[in-house]
Symmetry: D2
Subunit: 139 residues, 4 copies
Amino acid sequence: MPRVHIHPVHVEFGDCDPAQIAYFPNFFRWYDAASRHFFESCGVPPWRELERSVGIIGTPVVEANSTFVRPTSYGDSVEVHTWVDEWREKSFVMKYRLMRGGVLLAEGRDVRIFAIRHPDDPSRIKAVPVPEDIRRLCE
Amino acid sequence: MPRVHIHPVHVEFGDCDPAQIAYFPNFFRWYDAASRHFFESCGVPPWRELERSVGIIGTPVVEANSTFVRPTSYGDSVEVHTWVDEWREKSFVMKYRLMRGGVLLAEGRDVRIFAIRHPDDPSRIKAVPVPEDIRRLCE
Amino acid sequence: MPRVHIHPVHVEFGDCDPAQIAYFPNFFRWYDAASRHFFESCGVPPWRELERSVGIIGTPVVEANSTFVRPTSYGDSVEVHTWVDEWREKSFVMKYRLMRGGVLLAEGRDVRIFAIRHPDDPSRIKAVPVPEDIRRLCE
Amino acid sequence: MPRVHIHPVHVEFGDCDPAQIAYFPNFFRWYDAASRHFFESCGVPPWRELERSVGIIGTPVVEANSTFVRPTSYGDSVEVHTWVDEWREKSFVMKYRLMRGGVLLAEGRDVRIFAIRHPDDPSRIKAVPVPEDIRRLCE
């Protein structure tokens, strides 16, 4: 069983669109926040510290998906349940379930890399192998 | 050949994250803006008018995905190339290619419905068949 | 002494900009969320219910200010302390103090109205006198 | 007469809130984008280049305010008219007028500094005197 982190989210007025429901790109913001909180809960230092120590600037997303099952709106308290579904050599897969009480609102999945700045061009980024020590903290 | 709409985007400082690159949920904002501009360019009235006339509140996304091929940052002028890839009975599929000059930065795809408010519960939404007149405008 | 509401905020990676600090328009998002939570904590129904019952669509901001004293970044847990500083006939003034522990990060102030849709033009909004029952709930 | 830059903005569905109007923190995003485009139009290099050459990470806002005169909604094409209203020794004042055709929608003003990372603590920032060469480019 993978380690699961639960990240609470308050859906705000400003997260909602003229259809009165949470605007779907915000679900990806919530998944992304949940992903960082997952690493934080595992004891991984903030990216800004890792950038200084080992050059890792974060875990950029190379692919992101979500299905949207039921809408949510401001005033709702929801939770993102998050875990690493698969560790690969140079990437990993995270999954997300957005829940309101026991009701599933949305399911997400993304593929992420650990990235450093490209040595030849700081405007580009470059994947590095998944650091063994970080992986161990998260299992 | 489907009708393609090209939507220009200026990547702004506030669209970028501490890794100095555009934050990925913003790609979905850009795809979504491109989708609305696609309909606007086809002559479809704003959702707020359709809500008053036929009850349609917009085209909520039921599934979204994107791959992120190359990063972009503030100062970049990019374009979203958008088209309807498939019309189904109660949904449709849009595709997006985010380009900087001739370079592909990201590819998106989403599945959308035409929605009205649920007659029994205004906090929920309900798919209606793709309106024939809207589809004709967009082909 | 006015009633003060304390609204907790987790500063996320996606709230921060390439300078590695929270992007200042997000402070206004947090103030606005704190404002709505203030009303919720006072027992005022959600705007979507008030829209149906008395036509009030919310408390649009007619003026907003903030000073930014110290930056904050992702991983910080902060709090917005919020109160109504002044009730006027057709508007009211809210104040906000963004705190990290005992340290002041920013101070905000906005002027808001209670608004209904304009009877002649639904794309415009119109101030109504501050509802006496809402004001009583909030004092 | 100060140099004025005009920055076009398309108001998008995702910029609007459940009251069907543009969510006010987005006005500050637009002002901020207009500010950067102002500097770009004057020939000032991107902050990411200045950070590498002289350590300047941008022009953080130390105070921001706006009045909101008329709402705007998705589908609107608006413009931000921007200029430097005052140069001080260690800060400067920018003004913004958000226009739809000849109609004023909002007026903004902010106070900004040129900032470097604090030499003793990279999580803090520090104002430097307004660089003479940048000021000359902008007058």
